[in-house]
Symmetry: C2
Subunit: 492 residues, 2 copies
């Protein structure tokens, strides 16, 4: 298999698919629309999980685990939520296979083992969790209830793409219950903030925080807060959402609490989630024609050391130097790999780590031994430089911080260049068609206008940014009065 | 709800069920046979996961993720494995629900959305993983392949019990591929050793390492290695298994590699797993009539501090002392909770932490302030003592080690007292009936004898212990020649 990727400007979508497979992140499986996450891809997910999990716990949440299956009668209890997910859910109808009498050696569903009630494989867990919360909440003393779950979910999407849209994906879903509307709103906004902080600090992916228009809201939510990122091809990616669910699920599952004053009240709810889709966002924010570019804070291997040698004596000499560096790196908490495999040449190793996005590569050869130097190459800019062996560990530790910052800054600049204010629908269409990116435009606030614009341009309202400046204007499409600009884009 | 548990000697099974629910570990859900793992129970699982995951990585394994679903045609490829799991598997047949025309507001399966091929919800992942490994293995350079997955699995068991046997459970499953039989056997035995080390060092649960008789083997395995623990009621618990799969899956999925000599060879395989069942084992090894008893190394809270006070001034004085302890404990890596809730009395708090098995409880009141002391109570022995505030942090840190050791020693003694060598079938039946525990007896090596003994006594062969001393004798049932004793017990 050629290691060369299709160039991004030739076919961005093809570049993405090739990169995911060739960098050993994931691949399609024997199950339609479901992916296999390979060890290297999973290691990135583990790093994401560790940071997010820490952030959730620091904000008072606890993990728990709820069933994979949702009985149909619970699934349909919250009508809008059910309607939103019914069209794409996997349904278990039987609990046994038997030998197929017509096909020796084959199995078939045992018709006598039909479930009385079908089970939906969770596309999201509000229904099963709220049917459980009913037993956990009696009094105001039980609130707030702040729960998170790491789990797999299934949505039977027709058009799938590795990480971005798969029939099964991994995610976390937070589910919380509160005494007041105000507290639930604060929680939903707090988790949006946590997601934004994670995206920017760890993924080096700048995001816009905003709220969704009614037609883009989560099914069953009164308000959806989102973080929206901009990919290199000018399309937006919804990277995480946090929902204010009002009392919709509390009413559907009859979850009430006794207040301090002794009154029975419905609780207020939120839910929020991010998924393995983030890995798609990570790729499309930073990577280049040579492969993946990983931000140091999420890279499974931050530094790789490649020896360039002839014969065992040279390798031994290099190794004894490198052992010292490795030890020092580990003391500093830097994850480092010394690749002394003799089955591959240095050039092949360089290409492999470029493809896999390792932030820093150190090469050390005969001349370096003589000169007390090493060659340090950074993945983000592809710049190489010669560094003294005496300083290399500190130099690289600082470089990792610089790379993380540089990647974020570069992405911020890209987004800035690809965010355009427009005031006419001609401009709007032109920008969406040629330049892409976020288009900031006035909108009259109606779903009808939003739908018309989508039909004509494929662009949707990504969000109404928070802290939007109030600016009177005229809707770019209808000319009706508008009080603020919103962000449109084509989206993944 | 009364916090008092049924006494173990009155009804062990009832005691177990009550304990699991009252200690906030898990509860039954709206889905038949599926449990909800509550935050406190899940926190124990997270601690188990962290240690096991570290041990897997230290032995060279990497995590990955494979699909939840197994297409029927892959599921049936390895015949024995398929036969073993077909009778208890959940099957997805449809991918959409629609409004039920006969029942407004209700949903039904959309008959037009029937899958061409049914999908089995994984009861174990050999089939889907080996269909994937085929693409990953070409040459000896790709081997060994050492993969682990943390996942949920579904086995449609008819009689379920929280943690011990549930329709859905959480587990890890290792799947490895090797060039030689010898290497695969070593891997299977290595992982048995890792499991035993985990059980004894972290769970303080002594286990017997052994191999399974043919009829107790994993479906599709040539050899199953097991760790077997003894519960307080004299029944055994299979706590983890590691399978040598021979070339069965390699042949079923046509997974070959090119050897150094350029020949095409089938690879050799292992798989191994432990699950949330371990939490059941943890409970039934150590807990008592007052509730859970947790070994310090797996306790989410190792030390709880309860203030005994009248009025805010006393609480403030106690708090300022406690803040110092808390800081010191955290510096030592001890997880500590200061429970200063004013909504519960000290007595209620004592009972709660006893029920939840917190290893050490520190109480501090007015007289302690005067005397510069605290009261330290250990959960395992229920012994209390007065300790100077100057020494308390070191004292408790040492005590945690002592508790861990004491719990293990106690369990070893119990097992010793409940392991009986018998030489006649009368003795065998008598011991199984009255005393329970492991019965060490000669066996003629046939499945027929094993089955007859099971029918008559409900005892099964738990394992043929490794390092069994070779001792000629006569089968306890048939009198035929036997070369070694094996361990029988009734089992969970």
């Amino acid at each position: 298999m050629s290691k060369n990727l299709t160039k991004r400007e030739v076919d961005y979508s093809k570049w993405y698919n090739e990169l995911v497979v060739k960098a050993d992140l994931a691949e399609n499986s024997a199950v339609r629309g479901c992916m296999v996450i390979k060890p290297y891809g999973y290691a990135i997910w583990e790093k994401m999980q560790a940071e997010l999990d820490r952030m959730f716990k620091e904000t008072g949440h606890e993990n728990a685990y709820f069933p994979l299956f949702v009985p149909k009668s619970l699934f349909e209890a919250e009508e809008k939520n059910a309607e939103g997910f019914a069209k794409e859910c996997a349904v278990v109808t039987h609990y046994r296979l038997q030998n197929d009498p017509d096909n020796p050696g084959k199995l078939r569903v045992d018709p006598s083992a039909k479930l009385e009630e079908e089970l939906v494989v969770r596309p999201t867990s509000e229904a099963i969790i709220w049917s459980t919360f009913k037993g956990w909440i009696q009094s105001y003393r039980d609130l707030p209830l702040l729960i998170n779950q790491w789990a797999n979910v299934v949505r039977w999407e027709m058009r799938t793409r590795l990480f971005l849209r798969t029939a099964e994906f991994l995610w976390q879903e937070g589910h919380t219950a509160h005494t007041t509307k105000k507290e639930a709103l604060s929680e939903a906004m707090l988790m949006q903030k946590v997601y934004a902080e994670f995206a920017e600090t760890f993924m080096a992916m700048p995001v816009i925080k905003g709220s969704k228009s009614e037609s883009e809201r989560f099914a069953g939510a009164d308000e959806t807060y989102t973080i929206e990122a901009l990919m290199q091809d000018g399309k937006a990616l919804q990277a995480g959402t946090s929902h204010f669910l009002g009392q919709n699920f509390a009413k559907a599952f009859d979850v009430k609490y006794t207040s301090k004053e002794g009154k029975q009240e419905y609780v207020w709810a939120t839910s929020w989630g991010v998924s393995t889709r983030l890995i798609g966002g990570l790729i499309m924010t930073h990577s280049d024609d040579f492969g993946l570019v990983l931000p140091p804070r999420l890279a499974p291997i931050q530094v790789v050391i490649v020896p360039i040698y002839k014969g065992d004596d040279q390798l031994a000499e290099i190794s004894s130097k490198v052992d010292g560096f490795v030890k020092e790196f580990r003391q500093q908490g830097v994850s480092v790999k010394f690749d002394d495999r003799d089955t591959y040449r240095p050039g092949a190793k360089f290409a492999e780590y470029e493809l896999k996005g390792v932030p820093v590569r150190i090469a050390i050869g005969k001349r370096d031994l003589e000169n007390n130097t090493v060659e340090v190459a950074r993945r983000d800019t592809l710049v190489k430089q010669t560094v003294s062996q005496d300083d290399v560990v500190d130099f690289v530790a600082n470089l990792l911080v610089e790379i993380q910052d540089n990647m974020f800054d570069k992405a911020v600049s890209f987004r800035k260049e690809h965010t355009t204010e427009v005031n006419t629908f001609e401009e709007f269409k032109e920008v969406i068609k040629t330049k892409g990116g976020f288009v900031s435009a006035h909108w009259d606030g109606t779903s009808e206008t939003e739908d018309r614009i989508k039909d004509l341009t494929k662009a949707t309202i990504r969000c109404i940014p928070i802290n939007n400046k109030i600016e009177e204007g005229a809707c770019v499409f209808t000319g009706k009065k508008s009080i603020q600009r919103v962000l449109f884009a084509k989206a993944y």
